[in-house]
């Protein structure tokens, strides 16, 4: 049964099975009945603050049920949910607030924004339940997710209720999960992947277990054992952490899983083969996706066989093409840009019609990724047509980091590149090449790193700093990043 929206599906699930566990968080079990009550209470709070359809609600994405209540209460009131990473630096939070002009700001952080700050706890304190509500139309904007693209400039990706519904339905068709499943979500909830898994499970009437990242893999193992979890969503960096810390012990637990969904960054061939060998009865799925077009290509490692390194085939209900520089469809095997169409496609960027137009090709979304499709419909990734760095699944625009580094005293210029190291856990590691005004006056690395941590998300802070006399440049002055990538320092 396909409902009109995620929020409607969650309400219907609560009517059918009010006592069923919707969310497990630190051993607290929250039923669908309680979840709906909490959403309706939070909706009363939002309404009391003057929130109406189309208003933006900016709130901090903490990994707890309060986040879920606020997120779904936005949808119930017709407001637009603008969740942000709770580790985002203050400057970025202010930037988002300036861009979206919210009706309310909810976060457990005291920063000067020009808005009254409400806490997450405050949002569920109402004793009243919202009774007068209607579910949103499919074209209404549900979410506004901020990412920094290739230019390093923060942009808000609008997702309609149809987009997020289609993302959930398509994923469920491919993975084959249903209401009887219990899934562990160790991923952050402000991120498109984690948020999609949350929606997907609640829409199905399944149970989700929220766990704070991969720092303590024992918590994940315990959840599998205690709650008989049947699925998990995973990023390659998280899997690397688990393998590194727990060695092969993960097999004892993961072999009980019905499915895993990987995403956000590439997984190495050896890891894929290891998973196939170690987990013969688990559907090991991996998606290729972007915030703008959800998970649009899927593969399953057992079934992929010798094409285990393909991105996979177009997701159910999604169309994928490869086009050349003129927008013409490429022949099989010919490399071009991956473009995507379907109900998952974003209506565009917030207040940015130019970028919306730039990324659109007659209704298809231009991903900026290069690839080709073989005769059997398998899509293969060939690279990005820009300098983007992928740190553990998080896309980082070098320009954003470079701009911040260059504000540090004594630094003349710099260039950042992704460096893929043997045994690296994060995919790419960021390496900053720095030219000083006076090469005898090297900054103290700890101080420079601290400076960057105050201004950038943690994963954007370079792991390595290399001081050089000058940056290699083309005749037009563009930094030759390929040369820097090849430098082994």
């Amino acid at each position: 049964m396909v409902y009109d929206s995620i929020i409607k599906g969650v309400f219907i699930n609560a009517e059918k099975t009010p006592g069923k566990t919707a969310i497990v968080f630190r051993d607290e079990e929250i039923s669908y009945g309680f979840l709906i009550k909490s959403i309706r209470k939070t909706a009363v709070f939002l309404k009391s603050q003057g929130i109406e359809k189309g208003d933006r609600v900016v709130f901090m994405a903490e990994k707890n049920p309060l986040f879920v209540y606020v997120y779904l209460a936005c949808h119930l009131t017709g407001a637009i949910a603008v969740p942000f990473d709770n580790k985002l630096p203050d400057t970025r939070v202010r930037d988002i607030i300036e861009q979206v002009e919210p009706g309310i700001v909810i976060m457990n952080r005291k920063i000067e924004t020009g808005y009254k700050i409400h806490s997450l706890n405050e949002s569920v304190l109402s004793n009243d339940l919202l009774n007068d509500y209607s579910f949103p139309d499919s074209d209404d904007i549900a979410d506004l997710l901020f990412t920094t693209g290739t230019t390093g400039i923060s942009k808000g990706v609008m997702l309609s209720h149809l987009n997020i519904l289609a993302g959930a339905v398509n994923t469920n068709i491919f993975i084959g999960n249903d209401h009887s499943d219990t899934e562990i979500i160790p991923l952050p909830l402000h991120h498109a992947f984690g948020l999609r898994r949350l929606r997907t499970n609640l829409y199905l009437g399944a149970t989700l277990i929220l766990i704070d990242g991969f720092l303590f893999p024992g918590l994940i193992f315990r959840a599998i054992e205690k709650y008989h979890a049947t699925g998990i969503c995973m990023v390659p960096a998280g899997f690397s952490v688990i393998r590194k810390l727990m060695k092969q012990k993960y097999v004892d637990y993961f072999r009980h899983l019905k499915y895993m969904e990987f995403g956000s960054s590439p997984l190495g061939t050896e890891e894929k083969k290891e998973l196939v060998a170690n987990l013969p009865h688990t559907r090991i799925c991996m998606h290729y996706g972007l915030t703008e077009v959800a998970a649009n290509i899927f593969t399953e490692f057992h079934l992929a066989g010798e094409k285990i390194n393909a991105l996979g085939k177009a997701s159910p209900n999604v169309k994928v093409r490869i086009v050349n520089d003129y927008g013409e469809v490429c022949a099989a095997g010919e490399i071009g840009e991956i473009v995507v169409a379907g109900d998952i496609k974003t209506p565009g960027y917030w207040n940015n019609p130019e970028l919306t137009k730039e990324k659109d090709l007659d209704g298809w979304f231009k991903t900026g990724d290069l690839g080709y499709i073989d005769n059997e419909g398998y899509v293969f990734f060939s690279g990005r047509n820009d300098d983007i760095i992928n740190v553990g699944g998080k896309k980082v625009a070098p320009l954003e980091i470079e701009n911040v580094i260059c504000t540090y005293p004594g630094i003349k210029e710099c260039a950042c590149v992704g460096s893929h190291e043997e045994n690296a856990l994060t995919g790419d590691t960021i390496k900053a090449f720095i030219v000083l005004n006076d090469k005898k006056k090297k900054p103290v690395l700890e101080e420079l790193a601290g400076f960057l941590r105050d201004r950038l998300e943690l994963y954007k802070v370079p792991r390595y700093f290399v001081f050089i006399d000058h940056l290699p440049k083309t005749s037009s002055g563009k930094v030759k990043k390929n040369e820097l990538r090849d430098k082994g320092e």
Binding site: K87, G213, F214, L215, F216, P217, G218, A237, G238, S240, V241, K244, L245, M246, K247, K249, G392, L425, T426, V444, L445, E446, E447, A449, G450, R453, L458, V461
Partner: protein
């Protein structure tokens, strides 16, 4: 008495996580207190300690490490003494 093992552990953590001297550390300090002590930072700390003391930390032992104090207890259990 100066606890050299503690100083060494603190030094390893500061260098691994690129933390400056203003960050105060004690036995109770853990991931909740230091932003860069995330899952990858945790792996890097464990790896650095394994290399520094030429030991192997088992998955069972790793599950008990939540704070700097836990690392000290672990090292003591492996009979690692101040230099």
């Amino acid at each position: 008495m100066i606890n050299y093992v503690y100083m060494e552990i603190e030094k390893i953590i500061r260098e691994t996580l690129l933390i400056d001297e203003h960050q105060i550390m004690n036995d109770e300090t853990g991931p909740a207190d230091i932003d860069s002590w995330d899952s990858l930072g945790h792996v890097n700390i464990i790896t650095a300690i394994e290399e520094e003391y030429d030991i192997e930390i088992t998955p069972e032992e790793i599950q008990n490490i939540r704070t700097i104090g836990d690392i000290k207890v672990l090292l003591a259990s492996k009979d690692i003494h101040p230099r």
